[in-house]
């Protein structure tokens, strides 16, 4: 079922690896920005009045950095303007350095029932290197506030000097803190971020080293009951992120806020990345869309495969047929023949074999352009 994404572009300090749309030290804009976001929610709500949404995801930036009452207001606006399912999954991203008991209480009153906490690593020196504003003890405090609730923790791999021991300590902290879900990402050094310099100077672990950390982390996570359901996502049974699964099933979603992306009626569109332009548009009554592209059927088929092959459920023969009216093995006959040895059967279709999931681009490129 479709999802809703809200982007909160504020943070206290930009992390050294971050290339998301986020504006440190512009918290004074929060009030005006949120007013615009409410307006956009209203505009989009009218367009999508006949759609039922199953998930809401509030991401950033650091959504937890702003006054929680703004978040409450946004959720209030969502429930007023959109039709949500009976038991929606509502997630907010949090930085452990910005939480309080009161904030979490407000979030819960707003209907938020899932929390995604950005730990990244349990090693304080590595947190400092990443430009994170929190330390391990902040995470411990945050986790204590979330005890018993549905929360997820982010772990990052490929940090400067990171060892297997560091990964083990981080996984242990996460497991003991009671997280139901773990996202374990490889750091991607993007051009233009401070950490890119480290990458250029060869100071970050190379692909082989990251893979070793990943395999080790995955082994530890699975031993603690977190099963991999997507390349970088692990969850206890029943705690998979519905919002994210929707992306990988090529489901529809509406994104609101600066830089937010949407996919509806086979069209992908994106809001402006410029905060001022975003607000000007909304105030003048326009949707701030800067890019919009109709997805051709051929591309749609590739997207389906590319996204599904990230997951443990893999490509579902039936769902593919339902979406396109054809058999994916025939649509991609050549690519399938070339890659079948790296795939395995599932009850519903095919997925990438475990050991090849982390080299999947090699397989995906075969499916591109025939």
């Amino acid at each position: 079922m479709p999802g809703i994404y809200l982007h909160i572009p504020f943070c206290r300090h930009k992390c050294t690896y971050c290339d998301f749309t986020s504006f440190p030290n512009r918290l004074q804009y929060a009030e005006a920005y949120m007013a615009c976001l409410y307006k956009e929610i209203e505009m989009r709500g009218k367009e999508l009045s006949d759609v039922t949404f199953d998930t809401v995801y509030i991401g950033g930036g650091t959504p937890s950095v702003i006054d929680p009452n703004y978040i409450y207001g946004a959720m209030n606006q969502i429930t007023k303007c959109f039709h949500l399912s009976r038991d929606p999954e509502v997630t907010i991203e949090m930085n452990p350095g910005t939480v309080s008991e009161k904030k979490i209480a407000v979030y819960q009153r707003a209907g938020i029932n899932r929390f995604s906490v950005g730990l990244q690593t349990a090693i304080d020196s590595q947190l400092a290197e990443l430009g994170r504003i929190h330390m391990l003890q902040d995470y411990m405090y945050c986790a204590s506030l979330l005890k018993g609730k549905n929360f997820s923790a982010d772990i990052m791999l490929g940090l400067k000097g990171q060892t297997q021991e560091d990964v083990r300590r981080t996984v242990e902290v996460v497991a003991l803190s009671g997280a139901k879900h773990v996202s374990m990402y490889a750091l991607t050094p993007e051009d233009g971020t401070p950490i890119y310099t480290d990458y250029l100077n060869g100071e970050l672990p190379d692909g082989d080293e990251v893979r070793a950390l990943y395999d080790y982390g995955r082994e530890l996570l699975e031993a603690r009951g977190y099963l991999r359901y997507e390349v970088s996502n692990f969850a206890q049974k029943g705690f998979e992120s519905r919002h994210n699964l929707n992306y990988w099933r090529r489901g529809e979603y509406i994104g609101m806020g600066v830089s937010a992306s949407s996919f509806f009626y086979e069209r992908r569109f994106t809001n402006t990345f410029d905060l001022d332009e975003y607000m000007k548009c909304i105030l003048s009554g326009f949707l701030p869309v800067i890019e919009s592209e109709q997805v051709e059927k051929k591309d749609a088929k590739f997207e389906f495969v590319m996204l599904a092959l990230r997951t443990a459920e893999g490509i579902s023969d039936e769902k593919y047929r339902a979406a396109f009216g054809s058999d994916w093995r025939q649509d991609f006959a050549d690519a399938y023949a070339r890659t079948a040895q790296y795939l395995e059967e599932t009850p519903a279709g095919m997925r990438i074999r475990d050991e090849y999931l982390y080299v999947q681009n090699q397989i995906l490129t075969e499916y591109m352009n025939g």
């Binding site: 999802g3 994404y5 990402y185 490889a186 750091l187 991607t188 692909g207 082989d208 990251v210 893979r211 070793a212 990943y214 390349v231 970088s232 994210n244 992306y247 990988w248 979603y253 994104g255 830089s259 937010a260 992306s261 949407s262 996919f263 992908r268 994106t270 592209e293 591309d299 590739f302 997207e303 590319m306 996204l307 990230r310 790296y342 090849y356 999931l357 982390y358 080299v359 999947q360 681009n361 090699q362 397989i363 995906l364 490129t365 591109m368 352009n369």
Partner: protein, 603 residues
Amino acid sequence: MARANRNLRNFCIIAHIDHGKSTIADRIMELTGQVSKRDMEEQLLDSMDIERERGITIKLTPVRMYYTALDGEEYEFNLIDTPGHVDFTYEVSRSLAACEGALLVVDATQGVEAQTLANVYLALEQDLEIVPVINKIDLQSARVDEAKQEIEEVIGLDTEGCPCVSAKEGTNIRDILEAVVHRVPPPEGDTDARLRALIFDSYYDNYKGVILFVRIKDGTVRVGDKIRGSLSDRVYEVTEVGAFAPHLQPKEQLAAGEVGYIAASIKSIEDVAVGDTVISAAHPETPPLPGYKKVQPVVFCGIYPLDGSKFLDLKEAILKLKLNDASLTFEPDNSVALGFGFRCGFLGLLHMEIIQERIEREFNLDIITTAPSVSYLVHKTDGSELYVDNPSHLPPVSEIDYMEEPIVKAEIYSPPDYLGAIMDLCQDKRGTFRDMTYLDTHRVRLEYRLPLNEIVYDFFDELKSRTKGYASFDYELVGYEKSKLVRLDILLNGEICDALSVIVHEERAYARGRTLCENLKDAIPRQLFEIPVQAAVGGKIIARETVKAVRKDVLAKCYGGDITRKKKLLEKQKEGKKRMRKIGTVEVPSEVFMQILKTNKDK
């Protein structure tokens, strides 16, 4: 009988690379008002991008000028620029055949160079009047008198009153023009005789068809005339004749003694070979002029389209280049690894590089080139002989009695400081020392006999790096010698890749195999499976490296906002794959086929 124009002077310029030939040509054109200084692009004659970038002349480029001499008369000059590199000797001999005189440019700081000599001898063979010109007199290190002395001693030319100039500063350029007027003889020839015109170059124009560059030896040619080549029956009607100004400038006619071009809507490139004679269709019995000495290619390589479906485009490109560069030879070839392509022969390594670059630039084609090879003489056990330049065409070992390889006489000029380094290198390359002469206190000439196949490998780069670029080098083929040669095969994932096979000396096989495997290991991207890279001689593995399987190739995150961007990333990755060829199960980047040239030191 009507004589050719007495005020006509056809001449060319001979010089070693870097001695300033193109700059002198530019100054001459400036002074004759052919181009205004303002309009002048540096080195006007070097019109190909590659020529400008490398600062060398590859193609001969004719230009016509008018000069009013100090005697008050106006003269018409045709200047034909020539390349200086050893590989292009053939082009030089073609331009010489269209001239009566040659300016011999000698750098006052360098003196007479090996290459200069070779071209002077070519000019003397053609009975050209040679006018020495000393250039770069503006430089601190200029040794004008020594240079003159060298010209007199080494070449035996009189340097009395020869122009001493600085092309860079434009000093004494008029002296050159006066020398051309007074020392270069006017052309002979009868303008009323039957047409005989020597084709010294040609190129293909999309609108006019083949443009023939000719020197009219006898007779006159006008628009509307029916002409033909002496070697072909095809008759063409002349649509345009003209001069080089330096761009094509139509004229009413071209008469004996003149240099110019003929266009006749000639579509078939094969009908008008460079070196052939244009004659009147009405007199097919007219005897042709002596053509050029046919040159033998010495370096060979395979050229294949990166995209197999572009074979016909590649064929057209090579045909058109051939029209413009008669020394290029080619024949269709078929490789198991690379599909259909051409086996091409070149006059040398630089020639090979230039042709490869021209195919890519002028025809916008992506190509794969295999390692250069030379032509081996194979004596089979049944007593027959054959020449093999393509390693994959070598007969089975059991059918080979013995093989011979081409040997060159190499002359290396260097300051004495690097003697040891050069001798070590030649030793490494299976060279035999022949002679050493001190030309003066700071220059030594070394003569070695070297197998050509060592030279096409990495000799030149090594020589440059071991002598900090000070040594210069020239070679000529002297014959074949019996040698213990073997074919070194490369196996990728257990399969022989024919495009990577090389013929090497038996003693070299192990080291080459090692280096090759190491280089290939680095050049082949990691793939989903482990790839053994092996070198083998006669079925026996002599070296092995392994390309490890790729361990991480994944988009870490892929959420709502990422999908379009990530799709683009994958597309880019896919583009990279398109630049590769699939050899069996292995994706191999096109550059790999030249890796064979690289040495360990490149790493």
